[in-house]
């Protein structure tokens, strides 16, 4: 033990000196040990699999991404309008407060053939299956990005991912360290104000937004299409440790919407009240090796109250002393639970699988004899297999039970091949179903009470509509220019439509719904983007064509009863369907549509942007042949912004002027009654100011 003895010889002095030295260097030592921590510290998983988006070149479907920069540059103040930036997408208005958004054609004002998700929460609602875009408790400024899947994607996005999927991703709770107040003021009575504040910390983040949005509508003398709503949106996340995250989201929207058409007493001017709320709780667990499990539970509530709905058309139209109006109240609830797992299987395989159950219920006494509930359930699996370094195979399917007696499987297959590192070809075949909506299944209203015609639930079971989409696509990058293009052929079977005079009584009309029509949609999309240091340009063009035919005939299609001299009921119906539906089918998509968005930063603080939106004429299916289609749109929007201070930093801000339809190329919109047909979308301007604090 000599070594020890030797050491001991100097031990005392060294120890004394050492202690002094340690005291003196305590601070330095702390710094040094921190620098060791720089290498040894542990972190939570931030960019988890569910947060990462698939690059366009590896996505199984064509996809358009609208990011925050594009949203700002567009100058749009409502969410629905943003979809003008998506190739082939139709954005129409049945009044300024009733947007219609659809991909592909054969839509009516209750556009119901798309999945719409906000942070994974499905917001198309019964009984009609559309989205009340104005009524979503979400501010446009809280949107981080929107991914629009152009094509069926049930395997990855769930029920109703039929024509496509709108996937809205809101700003992360951690992204709001700076407070924001923003005001819009302008023509057509635009008066919006919103505020956002938040805090991000090591374990807890939150973002809270409030807003008031209002405008006086497009043509207030003819259409009462005003809107005003108050909304609140909270997103908060808590990370107890590095492998778990819990997120809570809450939203509330109270809306007041004008309704009514001048000169139509049965559609009197009145104000509808709505209340939308949601609560969403999700838990994300990161397993080792990049696997994760996500459980999401949410509830959506929508209450709708029309205080003055015509419930007796003859009285409403006449001057009877007791007008035939009454309350129309609806209470809609959705509860949904989903579990989703992502497994990384080696470096070349990834699987996403899970299941969910959903309860949808509607209580609307005017259209349903009793309150209705559907319990839907689904399981899904999606597999991504990197066959070779340059070839990716996506395989997936969803199996669902719609709760109304139908069980469907929707498979999808796609092959992406990187021909060159920056150039990818994609071939895909995908399918989806659209389950019949409650209104289609159960609506029951007397004649001239809620609608002009009576409705009864169908006597023949309505099958889910089915789509099969075949597509070849290309995604490429030429330096700073990105290019994306696809050609597609979609076959849609068993489209549910009105089955007129379903009960065979041609004197008193009673309708129902039935699977009646098959359609094909063919088209070509092309999008390009170019980004340079001080600006960006995105452009898209879409050419579409559709045709429709009967897959099965209306119930009374062969009715031999003579109802007019020389005309049988069947002949009459055949003619009516031919004129009003089949012949108009090819007008239900715009044959040409496109958009261009250019933005350029100038002189340090200015940003100029220009949006050009093109759409040839179009007619949605509930506008009959007696009325003209929506006219061609060639619209230019301009925006000029001046920033001060730093963007999104306390003390910074921005002022902007937006001029929509700057060159007054006025166009008409949706019009299914004479009073609505020639209403024009005219030039309008508004001013916006934003301050960060």
């Amino acid at each position: 033990m000599r070594h020890g003895l030797v050491s001991l010889a100097v031990y005392a002095t060294v120890l004394t000196f050492g202690l002094q030295s340690i005291a003196r260097d305590a601070k330095a030592a702390a710094e040094d040990s921190r620098s060791e921590q720089a290498y040894l510290q542990d972190f939570p998983v931030v960019l988890s699999a569910s947060r990462l988006s698939q690059p366009l070149s590896e996505a199984p479907n064509a996809m358009t991404v609208i990011d925050r920069r594009m949203i700002e540059a567009s100058g749009f103040r409502t969410i629905a309008e943003l979809f003008r930036l998506v190739p082939g997408m139709y954005v129409g208005y049945a009044g300024a407060n009733t947007p219609i958004v659809s991909l592909n054609g054969v839509t009516d004002q209750y556009s119901r053939r798309m999945q719409v998700l906000i942070d994974g929460r499905s917001v198309y609602l019964p009984p009609f299956g559309g989205v009340d875009w104005q009524d979503l408790p979400l501010l446009i400024g809280d949107i981080e990005r929107i991914e629009v899947v152009r094509g069926p994607a049930a395997a990855s996005h769930g029920t109703n991912s039929f024509y496509g999927v709108i996937n809205i991703i809101s700003r992360d709770a951690a992204s709001a360290d700076t407070g924001t107040v923003s005001v819009n003021k302008g023509e057509m009575g635009i008066s919006d104000v919103s505020a956002r504040l938040g805090k991000s910390g090591e374990a807890l983040d939150y973002r809270l937004s409030f807003g008031y949005r209002a405008d006086g509508g497009d043509n207030p003398q003819v259409l009462n299409d005003t809107s005003a709503n108050h909304l609140l949106n909270l997103r908060s996340s808590y990370r107890p440790d590095s492998s778990n995250g819990v997120e809570l989201q809450l939203g509330l929207n109270n809306g007041s919407y004008g309704m009514g058409t001048a000169g139509r007493p049965e559609d009197a001017f009145r104000t509808i009240k709505t209340r939308n709320d949601f609560q969403q709780l999700s838990w994300l667990h990161n397993w080792a090796m990049g696997d994760e499990t996500k459980v999401t539970l949410y509830r959506i509530g929508r209450d709708y109250s029309d205080p003055y709905r015509c419930i007796d058309f003859p009285t409403c139209k006449g001057s009877a002393p007791v007008p035939g109006f009454g309350h129309d109240d609806a209470s809609i609830r959705r509860r949904d639970l989903e579990i989703q797992n992502t497994n990384q299987l080696g470096s070349n395989n990834r699987a996403v699988w899970g299941g969910g159950v959903r309860y949808d219920s509607v209580d609307q006494p005017r259209i349903f004899a009793s309150s209705r509930t559907l319990r839907q359930s689904r399981i899904f699996a999606h597999h991504e297999w990197r066959v070779t370094e340059s070839t990716l195979l996506n395989l997936g399917a969803m199996y669902e039970d719609d709760g109304a007696g139908h069980k469907n499987t929707s498979p999808r297959f796609s092959l992406n091949h990187h021909v060159l590192p920056q150039h990818t070809l994609r071939a895909s075949v995908s399918s989806a179903t659209r389950n019949p909506m409650m209104a289609e299944l159960y609506m029951s209203t007397p004649r001239q009470a809620y609608w002009l015609n009576a409705y009864v639930p169908p006597s023949i079971d309505i099958k889910p509509e089915r789509i099969l989409s075949k597509e070849i696509g290309y995604v490429g990058q030429f330096g700073d220019i990105g290019l994306e293009s696809r050609a597609y052929y979609d076959k849609v079977s068993d489209i549910v439509m009105l089955d007129a005079y379903a009960d065979g009584n041609f004197a008193s009309r009673t309708d129902s719904f039935k699977n009646l029509v098959d359609a094909t949609f063919k088209g070509l999309d092309i999008s390009a983007s170019y980004r340079w240091e001080s600006g960006k340009l995105t452009a898209s063009y879409s050419r579409q064509q559709t045709s429709c035919w009967f897959s099965s005939y209306p119930t009374q299609y062969s009715n031999p009863t003579v109802i007019m001299p020389g005309v049988t009921a069947g002949q009459y119906l055949a003619q009516a369907y031919q004129t009003d539906y089949l012949n108009l089918c090819n007008q239900s998509v715009p044959s040409n549509s496109g958009s261009l968005l250019f933005s350029q930063n100038m002189l340090e603080t200015f940003q100029f942007s220009l949006g050009y939106y093109l759409r040839s004429k179009i007619r949605v299916t509930d506008v009959s042949s007696g009325f003209p289609p929506e006219s061609q749109m060639r619209r230019v929007d301009l925006r000029l912004a001046s920033a001060f201070g730093q963007k999104e930093k306390a003390g910074g801000g921005e002022m902007a002027v937006v001029l929509q339809n700057a060159f007054q190329d006025n166009y008409t919109g949706y019009g299914n009654v004479p009073q609505r047909i020639n209403l024009l979308f005219k030039r309008r301007a508004y001013f916006t100011a934003t301050i960060y604090f």
Binding site: M1, R2, H3, G4, L5, V6, S7, L8, Y11, V14, L15, F17, G18, L19, S21, I22, D25, A28, A29, D32, S33, R34, S35, E36, Q37, A38, Y39, L40, Q41, D42, F43, P44, V45, V46, L47, S48, L52, S53, Q54, P55, L56, S57, E58, E144, D172, A174, S175, D177, S200, E202, S242, Q344, S347, R350, H418, P421, Q646, K647, E648, K649
Partner: protein, 288 residues
């Protein structure tokens, strides 16, 4: 006297070499290192003791200081020490301040040589031209980094964080002019509280982050080069063997063996065609 002492340390000497491991922290990488090294030292040649935290130092022929805290304690003493888990800058500082300069003392640095880090940067992102770095005070290796990047036609963009330029502002600025964010060890900038925002912001701007440990890659960095505790233990063992044989410690050195880790999901999401970790490793292993 020291010379005489060393004569006793030849391998033929029956008396085992007394080795004391002084470990700065419990658990994690420290523990993995200690377990690995202990495994290797299990032979008659060595008698190993472990000193944790405030334990008395006790006598030994050679001390292995694991981490800066232990290194700082031992630096004050005139005893042969091999330091591991110490960043080069930290070790250099200790050396400058050391009381006795003749004692055998060496280190395996925690950091990877800059050449190796830059080689990874170039191998993983051959198209990158603008490399961004953040720091609270300019680290000594910055000049070397700038030169290494310039040699490979890359340009360094830097932002020092202070009260006038908070982290988020600096990050936004820097990402605006960089193709990649290159992590320099600085816990004021990169810590559990900030990493989320840094990764989310850079991901939103589609800028990859190159980290300095496996934890960065797990969190969402594109890639990192680092040495595992097992690799450091193997290198430490080799140095102990040499000490046992010759009574001399080799000069302080960077880790010989290293690993490359790639977050393939992040790479794919950023649409980066990156080679797998094994290929990147082999490529940068050729860097002298």
């Amino acid at each position: 006297m020291l010379g005489c002492l060393l004569l006793y340390l030849s391998p033929s000497q029956a008396e085992p070499l007394q080795v004391t491991l002084a470990i700065s922290e419990e658990g994690g990488a420290y523990r993995t290192f200690a377990e690995n090294l202990l495994g290797k030292l299990q032979s008659d040649k060595y008698a190993v003791k472990i000193k944790r935290g405030e334990d008395a130092l006790g006598g030994a022929d050679l001390y292995i200081a694991v981490g800066m805290k232990a290194a700082t304690q031992l630096a004050a003493k005139d005893i042969p020490t091999l330091n591991v888990f110490v960043p080069k800058s930290g070790y250099d500082k200790l050396q400058r301040e050391a009381a006795a300069r003749n004692t055998p003392r060496s280190a395996i640095y925690l950091d990877q040589p800059l050449e190796r880090q830059v080689a990874l940067l170039q191998a993983a992102l051959p198209g990158a031209r603008h490399v961004g770095v953040l720091y609270t005070s300019a680290p000594p290796e910055l000049q070397g980094l700038r030169r290494l990047l310039a040699d490979r036609s890359m340009q360094l963009h830097e932002r020092g964080i202070d009260q006038a330029l908070p982290l988020n502002d600096a990050l936004e600025d820097l990402l605006g002019e960089s193709d990649v964010l290159f992590v320099l060890p600085d816990t004021d900038i990169y810590n559990a509280g900030t990493i989320r925002n840094i990764l989310l912001t850079s991901y939103r701007k589609q800028i990859p982050l190159v980290g300095i440990s496996q934890a960065y890659v797990k969190a969402g960095a594109l890639c990192a080069v680092f040495s595992t505790p097992e690799q450091v233990a193997a290198q430490a063992y080799a140095m102990i063997e040499r000490y046992a044989a010759s009574g001399k410690l080799p000069a302080a050195q960077y880790p010989d063996d290293f690993e490359v880790s790639v977050n393939i999901q992040v790479a794919r999401s950023l649409d980066l065609r990156i080679r797998d970790a094994g290929k990147l490793h082999d490529e940068i292993a050729r860097v002298p």
